[in-house]
């Protein structure tokens, strides 16, 4: 098509000499047509964000720069434009929506004024006309009470509201193209569904083109007209969303689609075992503020009277959005936090209301797999020592513990030689395997996994989940699996408890909850799963 809004031709983006590869983007040619949403999908390191930055002229010069190709926008090559001309296009004709709405807004300025500033810089409108326009924009993104909203500061808004303001700013000058770089990744699922809906609605209404960068095929299914799949700086497959999602041609795309966790719930084990972990009426309240001289304490009820039980050898997923108290629950179970009231029993033994020394005895039985594979391994310890640490503490001779660590590394699919290397030499997925090996080293009865795959790419996510599942069976472990993602919960756990603002609103077997959700919140979580219709249409793996 000749009247494409954006026409990228043979784009190369060079990386500095000391990085592990020469190019972040290698010979990418893409077009964005008027009134369409093009999704660029790729895992980390695919060069998808670099491409967005290259279009906006935001590459971190001088180390990273486009060394070949053209980016034609409305007939002009953006790579050869001067700073002034580029500035007029940025904001004016091309707008950008970032991943993290908090950092994209100025915390010291009311949001209305921030939108107003865009208009002031780029248009000749007078003050009353601008105010009317700001108001209209805020109404456009469906924020309640526009007048109050205009005077609010970013910190007074929720994440979803902030992202709406960012979208309003992007729309302020009626741009021809909006580049959205993972705009919903930092948001909760239900908010994500609303924002995706909003972007689609506004795109139709204003006739804008959107270049949407994401890692999530579910999001693609929700929003895209066309899709381009990227890996290591190259476009592997491009086509209409319906075609690529249903009949992917490139093997890599096929693998990615297959790795998307399905919504096929797992069935409960037939026999019922006695409970391993029992939680009764757990309450944990945080008291904020209130230093030496101030008396106004603010209470946050993180967990309010939660009761749960996990039978031996089974696994329970605790599903909730941010602020639901799921991490606080995990910390109470693992003994990193003390609950205010309520009981936690492991194998019938109370873990609450006991001293530090008695608590230490439970350390061996309950282990944790952490969320962030980069923060959870000590960068100054060798992998072997990290895994062997628990064993050494519990009295295994050092040499024997290191030997067991090697064995565990083999078990989680790594080379035993990895024991002599440092964590930074491994990728995110490999580090998470090391984290799992560490948790298993002391042969615990219960493993608490706090969002263990949320920091990983989809294909790696699938492998790690399968590994966890295998090992669980092999060791006869029970697991408390904490996640925000119903899809992930469905793949690994027989039972699900849905947590909302510190209260369990629904609890039962995964199959029952998926088939017949009782609570309104569960229903909205299920509806918010991105690309739900598409996922259900996939053949069960």
């Amino acid at each position: 098509m000749t009247d494409a809004v954006l026409d990228i031709r043979d784009l190369h983006v060079a990386l500095p000499a000391w990085s592990d590869r020469r190019h972040a983007v290698k010979g990418v040619s893409l077009t964005v047509n008027p009134r369409e949403i093009l999704c660029i999908v790729g895992e980390s390191g695919s060069g998808k964000s670099m491409m967005g930055k290259a279009i906006m002229g935001l590459l971190p010069a001088p180390h990273v720069h486009a060394d070949r190709g053209q980016i034609l926008f409305e007939g002009r090559d953006l790579l050869t434009l001067g700073t002034e001309a580029m500035r007029a296009i940025r904001g004016g004709r091309i707008a950008m929506i970032f991943q993290e709405p908090m950092t994209a807004l100025n915390p010291l300025m009311p949001v209305g004024r921030q939108i107003d500033e865009v208009l002031e810089v780029h248009t000749d409108l007078d003050a009353p006309a601008r105010t009317a326009r700001v108001r209209a924009l805020i109404e456009d993104v469906h924020l309640p009470d526009p007048d109050r909203m205009m005077r609010s500061y970013p910190h007074q808004l929720s994440g979803g509201q902030r992202q709406r303001i960012v979208i309003a700013m992007a729309l302020a000058l009626e741009p021809a193209l909006i580049i959205a770089d993972e705009p919903t990744t930092a948001l909760d699922v239900t908010t994500q569904a609303q924002i995706l809906h909003l972007i689609k609605e506004l795109q139709r209404k204003h006739g804008t083109s959107v270049l949407f960068i994401t890692h999530d095929f579910g999001v693609v299914a929700e929003i895209a007209d066309r899709v381009a799949v990227m890996r290591q700086g190259e476009v592997l497959e491009e086509g209409r969303a319906d075609d690529v999602l249903v009949r992917p041609e490139h093997p890599y795309t096929q693998a990615l689609v297959a790795a998307v966790p399905g919504l096929n719930p797992r069935n409960r084990a037939a026999e019922t075992a006695p409970p391993l972990l029992e939680i009764r009426d757990l309450v944990r309240t945080y008291r904020l503020g209130g230093g030496l001289f101030s008396r106004n304490l603010r209470e946050v009820k993180a967990v309010q009277s939660v009761s749960l039980s996990i039978p031996k050898g089974s696994s329970l997923a605790l599903v909730g959005e941010s602020g639901s108290g799921k991490t606080t629950m995990a910390k109470c179970v693992i003994g990193l936090e003390r609950p205010d009231s309520g009981d936690i029993l492991l194998d019938g033994q109370p873990m609450t209301g006991i001293g530090r020394a008695q608590m230490r005895a439970f350390r061996r039985d309950v282990q944790m797999v952490f969320q962030d594979p980069f923060a959870s391994l000590n960068p100054r310890q060798k992998v072997g020592e990290i895994i062997a640490m628990g064993l050494v503490i519990w009295g295994t001779p050092r040499a024997q513990a290191l030997e067991e660590a090697r064995e565990l590394l083999r078990l989680v699919g790594l080379q035993p030689e990895a024991a002599d290397r440092y964590p930074h030499e491994f990728s995110g997925g490999q580090r998470q395997r090391i984290g799992i090996a560490r948790a298993l080293a002391v042969k615990p009865k219960l493993v608490v996994a706090d969002e263990p795959v949320s920091a990983l790419d989809v294909s790696v996510q699938k492998q790690v989940l399968e590994l966890l599942d295998d090992l669980r069976r092999q060791f006869g472990l029970s697991m408390l699996f904490i996640t925000h993602d119903l899809r992930v919960a469905a793949t690994v756990c027989e039972e699900i408890a849905i947590l909302q603002r510190g209260v369990i609103v629904e609890q039962g077997s995964t199959a029952d909850i998926f088939a017949n959700p009782q609570h309104g919140y569960t229903q909205s979580l299920l509806d918010a799963v991105p690309g739900r219709d598409w996922i259900s249409s996939l053949p069960a793996a």
Binding site: G335, R363, Q367, M368, F370, D372, M389, I393, G435
Partner: protein, 276 residues
């Protein structure tokens, strides 16, 4: 990402600093070989200018060899500076680590103590300490360490608080490691970079304090030092300029060299600041 070595040794300023420091270190280590005679011995005419026969940097008011004094002074000055820095780091690290790790009331008490030491004018405090304890090499080390540890404690405390929140520390707690094991095995090794940088710069400050105290006559008696040389030569500034100027330049270059190395360490250990 370039390696630490490439970033550190590839820096020309670090190179200059290392060359000068190596010269000073050689002088300090081999003082007895390079200048075998007692630096206090009267070996020639007084007030011989630099370049005189047999005395490269001249002689002082009593006919002592200035170069020999510098070589022996390097030993005294460096020893006192390094020992006092090590003592300050050891004490400051333990205090800062305990305050940062335990927080709450422990933190309050230890930090108020640190602030108490920080509010006293440090040079006057050092003078008072040496005056009370009587001047000796050991007491100089104590005085300098006592006035230098608070910044170390603050740096370590801040780092420990930051590292403590990382997940691998929670993993160690969950594994059942004891508090001291976690603090010294998991947390402190991860606070080394800022500690090395602060410590290396502190050696330079310690040299300055030692020289200043010696200049005031509170130095270690019977041991030649750079500050003592300046102090002894100050009354003859207009007649024999080299007595003050030469040791002064040596102190300047040494402090500068250590600062260059310290900054090079900082750039190499915190590459994000250097690259952007």
């Amino acid at each position: 990402m370039k390696s630490f070595n490439a970033r550190f040794y590839g820096n020309p300023r670090v190179y200059l600093g290392l060359v000068w420091l190596a010269l000073v270190l050689i002088a300090a280590l081999f003082a007895g070989v390079l200048a075998p005679r007692d630096p206090f011995a009267i070996v020639g005419q007084p007030f011989l200018p630099p370049g005189s026969e047999g005395f490269l940097l001249g002689t002082d008011s009593l006919g002592r060899d200035v170069l020999a004094g510098l070589i022996h002074g390097a030993r005294t000055t460096l020893m006192i500076a390094v020992l006092s820095t090590v003592a300050a780091i050891a004490f400051g690290t333990v205090l800062g680590a305990l305050a940062g790790y335990y927080g709450g009331i422990v933190d309050d008490i230890l930090m108020r103590l640190t602030e108490f030491f920080q509010t006293i004018p440090w040079f006057l405090f050092a003078i008072v300490l040496v005056a009370i304890l009587s001047p000796s090499a050991m007491n100089l080390v104590i005085a300098i360490a006592v006035v230098s540890w608070p910044p170390i404690a603050r740096v370590v405390r801040a780092e420990v608080m930051a590292v403590k929140a990382r997940e691998f520390v929670q993993a160690a707690v969950v594994a059942g490691q004891r508090d001291m094991g976690i603090l010294f095995g998991q947390i402190l090794p991860n606070t080394l970079s800022p500690l090395i940088v602060t410590g290396s710069l502190m050696v330079a400050t310690a040299i300055l304090i030692e020289s200043a105290l010696s200049f005031l006559g509170l130095g270690s008696p019977g041991q030649m030092s750079w500050g003592f040389q300046i102090g002894a030569g100050r009354s003859f500034l207009r007649d024999a300029w080299w007595l003050v100027t030469v040791p002064g330049i040596v102190i300047l270059l040494t402090v500068l060299a250590i600062n260059l190395i310290g900054e090079g360490l900082n750039d190499a250990l915190n590459p994000r600041l250097a690259d952007l």
